[in-house]
Symmetry: C2
Subunit: 409 residues, 2 copies
């Protein structure tokens, strides 16, 4: 088997942890596998480096983001060297590779680049020589040879993308939890580790803040059919497999329940109900890279309508400013905001074939007296906005209401 | 003018010092020059990185020195990013370049690579756009794209080599002293900054431990005729110009006096005086990369001779072991060692055209009652070995005896 193993910052956060990674890689190789390791910067290192940059220049213009990438990419560069040395010390053979050396070619969007192609030849050569290939995550190179980085959490994407390019049998993502859970165990004591989950469900859960996997890495996995195994770097237990949808997954109505408290709600009262108004409102937000999540438009009355939508809480102030500018005739009191909300979502591919999940969701919340402020549904997800103070309660009652606490039949 | 400015670790050792470098580069550019900056790692950083590596693997085999270079090269990579950001912040324009991006091609001798070629095209492109080019010192890439480093002090060599490749008008080496002195000012209060010195003299002084310039950088300067200006990063004073030999330099008998206490003396008594003996002794030393400096063979008596030579003090123990192995018949007491010595040297191109400098050297030392243990001379240098305790005194009396304390006529 060809196994790609990705270790995050905590897993390589100290000399002792790096030795642990080396031992695990060698054990995997000794079990008869070819091993490619993707590593992040040692925990805290990326923040230290970008902190230095900020001290020197607290507000570099976009064209100087190139230099931020030059600085940030050194974090992973140090780790690949250290892990290679640790593997040698532990009795194995290793060779490090930088993004530019593997030819992980990205676009030129510095600090948030996207992978365009990967040339696996040098890695294959190293594997043929019996070496463990140690590849720097998070970084790549654009067509002109500039160093790029993939944005926070980009090492997950590096791992899955390299697994796809090498046609690896599995991409193991090592983390400090045992896998993906039906809900946040800190909120829901009965939360249970999920054994297998589809890419689609994982995408919905990842975007809801189940921080075990970066969204883009799941998208990559889905696109190229890479089997992802999320597991703990502290033990040898099976974790969660993120795989193509399987027949029996549909028998489970709901796979997970998650809450997201990073949104805020904006309501525009009495907006003219005529063609082009929505575009006028959402174009400047899109231009400012503000991601609008849920949008609800109420029934029109006398040519006027109410429009409610959610944006990331951090963008709320800017959103209001942009709307004031876009709709200068709007009365001051016509814009209402509420950042004291939470979005609670129920996710599962089983919804596709089973009616009534939405209804059951509303019933469960109603039984607890939790008022629903907004509703939005997709094929495999039902999201409701509730007052922030009800977030944990809503997650708990939905989790247990859908029987997630019990092992699947 | 095209000006190359090289800043060492102390000059970029803090955020404030980096800002200072940025201001100086911009001022040089505003004075009408094209500016290329070469920077070292922030002071202490290379030691920190290699310390981490040592914690992970305290004795990597030679083929893993590749990984040490991967790790060490990040020090300069961080600095080029920071300096570029600082230049932007201070109102200039800049672009950073790594060794691999400038195509500083070296051999594959990791941790001590030698530069083979430099492609200045990308730097010229950046200069044409009005940018200050900020290049990482100390690092290069071999023909296979592996990262290499040039060894300690390698940034000086990077600076001069890049100046040569770009046909720069001057390579300014910024340091924490005002230039090259006629002797160590800590030892000789009357030591005077030298305004102009030839490459040959600088080479002799550099190898004697006047630590302002790395030897290889001077060799590069000499080979390609790069004018080197050693000056302080703390002020705008003229420093010392290291240049091709000039006519009037010959009027100065002696340019500098230096002492080196890092040598030890080995005497082999009663060595068979026949062809092949010297080779038998020095071959194993050469094989072990031990640099033998001075060698003296006394007149032969009854087919036996005494052989005295110096080696770096750190290599003394290994030297004795190697000689015992090479000459197993040698009596225990036939090998005498003395690590309590100092080599004092008088350097100057004027010696070539003026007789009597050697004689005057001996006279000056004799007047102070300093016994000479060994003598060796080259075209522009006279070195004597004396007891270590006389080192400073010898330097002082020679310095003043040759009139170095006064400004040149």
């Amino acid at each position: 088997m060809l196994v790609v193993q990705k270790f995050g910052g905590t897993s390589v956060g100290s000399v002792e942890r790096i030795r642990e990674v080396a031992r695990r890689c060698i054990a995997t190789q000794k079990a008869g596998n070819d091993v490619v390791v993707i590593v992040s910067a040692m925990s805290g290192e990326t923040n230290r480096l970008l902190g230095l940059a900020k001290q020197v220049n607290d507000d570099p213009p976009p064209e100087y983001e190139r230099e931020l990438d030059v600085i940030a990419a050194t974090g992973e560069q140090v780790t690949v060297g250290l892990v290679s040395l640790a593997i040698q010390k532990a009795g194995g053979q290793a060779q490090s590779f930088l993004g530019s050396q593997v030819r992980i070619v990205t676009d030129s969007a510095f600090t948030r680049a996207r992978i365009q192609s990967i040339d696996g030849q040098k890695i294959h050569d190293a594997l043929k020589q019996g070496k463990i290939a140690v590849v720097a995550g998070f970084q790549g190179t654009d067509a002109d040879g500039n160093i790029t980085t993939l944005g926070r959490g980009g090492s997950d994407t590096s791992g899955v993308a390299i697994a796809a390019a090498l046609k690896a049998d599995v991409c193991e993502i090592y983390t400090d939890v045992d896998g993906v859970y039906t809900s946040d165990p800190n909120v829901v004591p009965s939360a249970r580790k999920i054994d297998r989950i589809s890419y689609e469900e994982m995408l919905e859960l990842a975007s809801l803040g189940a921080k075990v996997l970066q969204i883009r890495s799941v998208e990559f996995g889905m696109k190229y059919g890479v089997k992802i195994h999320v597991r703990s770097s502290f033990n040898n237990n099976e974790g969660t497999w993120v795989v193509p949808e399987e027949k029996q997954m549909e028998s489970v109505l709901v796979s997970g329940v998650a809450a997201d408290k990073n949104e805020a709600k904006v309501t525009l009262i009495g907006v003219p109900d005529k063609p082009g108004t929505a575009a006028k409102i959402f174009q400047p937000l899109s231009g400012a890279s503000i991601v609008v999540d849920m949008i609800i438009q109420n029934i029109s009355e006398a040519g006027r309508t109410d429009l409610t939508f959610t944006v990331p809480r951090a963008d709320l102030k800017r959103t209001v400013e942009l709307i004031r500018r876009a709709l200068p005739d709007m009365a001051e009191q016509g814009i209402k905001t509420d950042d004291n909300i939470a979005k609670v979502s129920v996710v599962g591919v089983g919804m596709r074939s089973h009616a009534g999940v939405a209804l059951r969701t509303f019933e469960i919340l109603a039984e607890e007296g939790i008022n629903i402020l907004m509703i939005s549904t997709s094929e495999i997800k039902i999201s409701v906005v509730v007052e922030a103070k009800y977030a944990e309660l809503a997650v708990r009652v939905l989790h247990d209401g859908f029987g997630l606490g019990k092992a699947p039949a």
